[in-house]
C-alpha cells in the first residue's frame, strides 16, 4: 500500500501528461459503461464480461497511478515503461484470443452434436417408430455409454 501511495505521488520517469491520463481514464470509464450496457441489453453474458471489467479497471488504474506502470516495468526488468506496458497488454490479448478459440471449439462441438441429434430424431419419425428400439437395446446402450465415461 505504501508503495502504491509513493508510486502515485512520484512520477519521475513516466512520460504521461495529465492530458493523456485524463483521456485514458475517460476511455476506461466509457469502456466499462459500454460493457454494462451490452450486458443490460442481453448482447453479452455476464460470465464473458468479467475479463473485460478487469481490463477496464486496469486501464483506469494505469491512468490514475502512472507509477504502477513503473513498478510493473521494474518487476519485469524492463527499462522502458512503454515496452513493459505493450508487452503486458499484448500477452493479455493473446491469452484472451486463445480463450475465445477454446470457447468457440466447445460451441462448434455442441452445435455439431445438436445437429446430429436432430438428424437422428428425424430418421425415427421417417421410420415411424416413436419409441425407438426395444428396452433391451436401451439397457445395452446405457451400459456401453457408461463404460466409455469411466
Amino acid at each position: 500500500m505504501r508503495a502504491l501511495v509513493l508510486a502515485a505521488a512520484s512520477e519521475p520517469q513516466v512520460h504521461l501528461t495529465s492530458q493523456t491520463r485524463i483521456v485514458a481514464a475517460v476511455i476506461a470509464v466509457f469502456f466499462m459503461l459500454l460493457i454494462l450496457d451490452l450486458i443490460r441489453r442481453d448482447r453479452l453474458q455476464e460470465r464473458y464480461s468479467v475479463i473485460w471489467f478487469v481490463a477496464g479497471l486496469g486501464m483506469l488504474a494505469g491512468a490514475a497511478f502512472p507509477g504502477l506502470l513503473e513498478l510493473l516495468a521494474d518487476a519485469m526488468g524492463v527499462r522502458n515503461t512503454n515496452v513493459a506496458l505493450f508487452s503486458v497488454v499484448l500477452l493479455l490479448l493473446l491469452g484472451l484470443a486463445l480463450n475465445f478459440s477454446v470457447i468457440m471449439s466447445r460451441q462448434a462441438a455442441q452445435i455439431t452434436r445438436l445437429a446430429q441429434e436432430r438428424a437422428i430424431e428425424k430418421v425415427r419419425q421417417q421410420a415411424g417408430e416413436p419409441n425407438g428400439n426395444g428396452s433391451a437395446g436401451k439397457e445395452r446402450l446405457e451400459a456401453e455409454e457408461q463404460g466409455l465415461e469411466s
Binding site: T112, Q116, A119
Partner: protein, 241 residues
C-alpha cells in the same frame, strides 16, 4: 445380426439413388441410412425415393460429422455391425459385403477397404490416383504407420465396416477435420483390432477431387499436426486410472 449400411452424402443427387439400389441388392437384410450433410440439391429426396432412411443434418458439417452421425445412429438403434461407403459410386457394395463379413466373424473391430493393399493392385486397374494425391497418400501412410506401428496402405479410404466397440468410440470421439486418418490412429490407440482388406474401387462417377497442389500441401500439413497431437491423447487404459 442387425446391420446398418450408411452413406454420407453432400450434394450427390446424381449418384446416390443408384448406390442405394446397389447396396440393397447386395445386402438385402441390411438397413440403409443416408446421412445428408446439408445438401442443397435433391439428395435427400432421391435417397428417400430409393428406399433409404435419411438423416439430414441442418447445415453442412463436413465428412467427419456426417460419419459420426452414422455411427451414433447405429449405436443408438442397437445394430451389431455397420459399414459405410461413399455416395459417388466409387465403392462397389459387393466389397462392403466382404468387409462386413470380417466384422461379423469377429476377426476385427474395424475393417478398412484398401485400394492400395498388395492384394488389390491386380484387380484395381480401374482406379488411378493423381500425382498430388499420390504424394499425400504416401506421406500419410508413412506417418500413420509410424504413429500406430501398424501398416496401413489406404489411410483415407471411406469404405469401412465396424462393430459396436467402434461405434461407441467413434460416436464419442471423432475428429470433424481429419476424419479418416485420425480415426484410425484413435482406434489403434484404444486397443481395437483394425484390419485392412484389399478392395476394388472405381473411378469416381461424377465431379472432380477438390485437391489442388496448394490445398494438398495445406491438407498434408494439417494432417501431420493432427497426427502429432493424436499421439498425446490419453489411451482408454490410462484414462480409466
Amino acid at each position: 445380426m442387425r446391420t446398418l449400411v450408411f452413406i454420407p452424402a453432400w450434394n450427390e443427387q446424381a449418384s446416390v439413388a443408384s448406390v442405394i439400389a446397389d447396396v440393397r441388392k447386395r445386402l438385402p437384410e441390411a438397413d440403409v441410412l443416408v446421412v445428408d450433410d446439408g445438401s442443397t440439391d435433391a439428395t435427400a429426396e432421391r435417397a428417400r425415393e430409393a428406399g433409404a432412411l435419411v438423416a439430414s443434418l441442418p447445415f453442412n458439417q463436413g465428412l467427419g460429422a456426417a460419419l459420426q452421425t452414422g455411427y451414433l445412429y447405429a449405436l443408438r438403434n442397437g445394430y451389431d455391425a455397420c459399414a459405410h461407403l461413399d455416395a459417388d459410386g466409387q465403392h462397389p457394395p459387393e466389397e462392403v459385403v466382404r468387409l462386413l463379413a470380417e466384422v461379423e466373424a469377429d476377426r476385427a473391430d474395424l475393417v478398412i477397404g484398401s485400394r492400395y493393399h498388395s492384394g488389390a493392385v491386380a484387380a484395381s486397374g480401374d482406379y488411378k490416383p493423381t500425382f498430388s494425391r499420390r504424394i499425400g497418400i504416401s506421406v500419410f501412410r508413412f506417418f500413420l504407420t509410424l504413429a500406430t506401428r501398424q501398416r496401413f496402405t489406404d489411410t483415407t479410404s471411406g469404405m469401412r465396416a465396424a462393430n459396436r466397440r467402434v461405434m461407441s468410440l467413434f460416436s464419442q470421439h471423432y475428429s470433424p477435420d481429419f476424419a479418416e486418418i485420425e480415426s484410425l490412429q484413435l482406434a489403434v490407440r484404444q486397443g481395437l483390432r483394425v484390419e485392412e482388406l484389399p478392395v476394388r474401387m472405381l473411378e469416381r462417377a461424377g465431379g472432380s477431387s477438390f485437391l489442388t497442389p496448394v490445398r494438398s500441401a495445406f491438407f498434408i500439413f494439417k494432417g501431420l499436426v493432427v497426427l502429432l497431437v493424436g499421439q498425446f491423447r490419453p489411451r482408454q487404459a490410462e484414462a480409466k486410472q
